[in-house]
């Protein structure tokens, strides 16, 4: 199977501080890859490099087939990104949000029109085309935000704590959306602080002090650390951190 992410000894230093310290890993096409770690472990810095937003100090990375250091513009165009905090423009209508993101990601105008119709139909949102996003229920907003992030059919979508502060049912329905997307071949790279969600990933990496301390399937990680849940695995690994955020 094709690798959508290939990272080799990727490193980022800020002055004398090494935020990300020689990390190496691959993410396969269609995989749900959980990217976990304590606050301050270097997750955000690593993710910013993978999204082409921050140049690395050393090391290599290929994302969606493009070099993150020399082809960052192509990287940005060929990935999707969604976070809970910044997902949609609340004061724009449903179709306007789709139009805006379609444009940003360079989808040609005629395609935006036909794809918008398809999308609204698939989501059952035809009657909400002209609804302002701020008056949609949270579950619908999430559905729309996720659909907008993959509107340009990227190979991979980065989800940065997509379910933070979301009610338990909506949070689970969101994961069902993720599964639907991976069934269509989209690769998912996701961060979360909910350890039950780590169980829903195909593979999980745990960052501690800028390193990837462990990377495997949830099942293997639990065996390796003699733990019953991913929460226990996390507690065991993150407690070793020297560079705690506190």
């Amino acid at each position: 199977m094709e690798n959508v992410i290939e990272v080799n000894n990727l490193t980022k230093k800020f002055g004398s501080f090494t935020a990300v310290d020689h990390i190496s890993f691959e993410v396969k096409q269609g995989e749900i890859f959980g990217f976990l770690g304590a606050n301050g472990a270097g997750k955000t810095t690593a993710m910013r490099m993978l999204c082409g937003l921050l140049p690395s100090t050393s090391g290599k990375g290929l994302v969606a087939g493009y070099d993150i250091n020399t082809q960052s513009e192509q990287v940005k165009r060929n990935i999707g990104y969604m976070s809970q905090k910044f997902a949609l423009y609340e004061d724009l209508k449903v179709w306007e949000n789709i139009r805006l993101y379609g444009g940003i990601y360079g989808v040609p105008e005629p395609q935006i029109v036909s794809k918008t119709n398809d999308l609204l139909k698939r989501l059952g949102f035809e009657n909400e085309r002209n609804t302002l996003v701020n008056s949609l229920p949270l579950g619908w907003k999430q559905k729309l935000a996720f659909s907008v992030a993959i509107f340009h059919e990227p190979k991979i979508v980065f989800l940065d704590e997509p379910t933070g502060g979301v009610d338990p049912i909506t949070r689970r329905k969101f994961w069902e959306l993720i599964y639907e997307a991976t069934d269509r071949g989209i690769t998912v790279f996701v961060t979360t602080h909910y350890m039950d969600e780590a169980e829903y990933c195909d593979r999980v990496s745990m960052m501690v002090d800028g390193h990837i301390e462990a990377l495997d399937t949830p099942k293997n990680l639990k065996q390796m650390f003699h733990a019953d849940t991913m929460n226990e695995v996390f507690q065991k690994l993150a407690r070793k951190a020297q560079r705690s955020d506190s």
Partner: protein, 314 residues
């Protein structure tokens, strides 16, 4: 400092309502009683009304209707007494970014007419962790350190009631555990703690909780009682064919709802309509392997989901 008498309730709300603009009803006619000397959790997702409730109790905004008392003082007529006697840590970091750690703490102490030295005992275990950085500007601190400074500032006048608005949002599981350990110690000191969170697993760390959604309380009780009152039968189900499991379960009329729950799936069964054995048989006929179907006790999260479903049905 004006001290207030020990009252029966740390917090008491009657028929409290708050509406923003014409159409957003943040709180709908809620009642709440919080006994002193306990950790009381307001548990619910973003937008449920947690912050609005706290802003009314801390006398920062006024309710449209209803009454609220904090330690026996009315939030409208006796707001000054309340302000002097509570500690409040808002959800957004709201200390002075351009003052140093020590300057922030000194400032809050002086506002309340006290000094760091006078109440050092109470904050010692928390403040010691950031004291090495006391000359650093607050804006330059990491998230975890900001949180500890904010908590120290909220405690510097030895409040009887500490109100914390989502102190653990966006915080990793290890740091969350440490934060709750600090809260437990503060409770030992006799401080009543009113804390909000969107993390359902923190419910079990509270003495009593109120589950809140869409401006209404779904339930107020101890976590143990809430779990005990869960009505449907709950099964934990495992199968190697995970993604197919939800579809197959939803095809069964006896299953009321089912959702992924960590490495297993939880399904609620209407009136015991299907036994674990019968469900196992049905699923294996559908091609599931490595099957496990076990009746289990619910978590607070299961209860929240069941209660919110009932609320939306009504």
């Amino acid at each position: 400092m004006t001290n207030i008498q020990e009252s029966e309730w740390a917090v008491k709300c009657e028929k409290l309502s708050k509406t923003y603009k014409p159409d957003i009803q943040a709180l709908k006619n809620i009642d709440l009683k919080v006994s002193p000397h306990q950790i009381f959790g307001i548990i619910g997702p973003d937008g449920a009304g947690k912050t609005t409730l706290f802003r009314i109790l801390t006398t920062l905004i006024l309710a449209d209707e209803g009454k609220a008392e904090v330690m026996g003082c009315d939030v409208v007529t006796e707001y000054e007494k309340i302000r002097r006697n509570i500690g409040y840590m808002p959800g957004r970091f709201s200390l002075y970014q351009d003052l140093t750690v020590e300057e922030n703490l000194k400032f809050f102490a002086s506002v309340f007419g006290t000094t760091i030295e006078e109440n050092y005992d109470l904050i010692k275990s928390i403040y010691q962790q950031i004291e090495p950085f006391k000359n650093r500007r607050a804006g330059q601190l990491s998230g975890g350190m900001k949180q500890k400074l904010a908590l120290s500032c909220a405690l510097i006048h030895k409040p009887k009631l500490l109100i914390l608005d989502e102190p653990t949002t966006g915080v990793d599981p290890v740091s969350r555990k440490e934060f709750w350990e600090m809260l437990r110690q503060l409770k030992e000191e006799g401080i009543t703690i009113l804390v909000s969170t969107a993390y359902m697993d923190e419910a079990s760390l509270c003495d009593a909780i109120a589950l809140i959604l869409d401006g209404e309380f779904l339930k107020i009780d101890t976590p143990e009682n809430i779990v005990r009152q869960f009505e449907p039968t709950l099964y934990s189900i495992r199968s190697l064919q995970r993604s197919k499991l939800l579809t197959d379960l939803r095809g069964l009329p006896a299953i009321d709802s089912c959702y992924a729950f960590g490495e297993s799936t939880h399904a609620t069964v209407i009136h015991n309509q299907i036994s674990p054995e019968a469900l196992k048989k049905y699923l294996s006929e559908k091609g599931h392997t490595d099957l496990e179907v076990v009746p289990i006790a619910p978590t607070v999260e299961d209860c929240f989901m069941e209660l919110s479903k009932q609320m939306h049905q009504n």
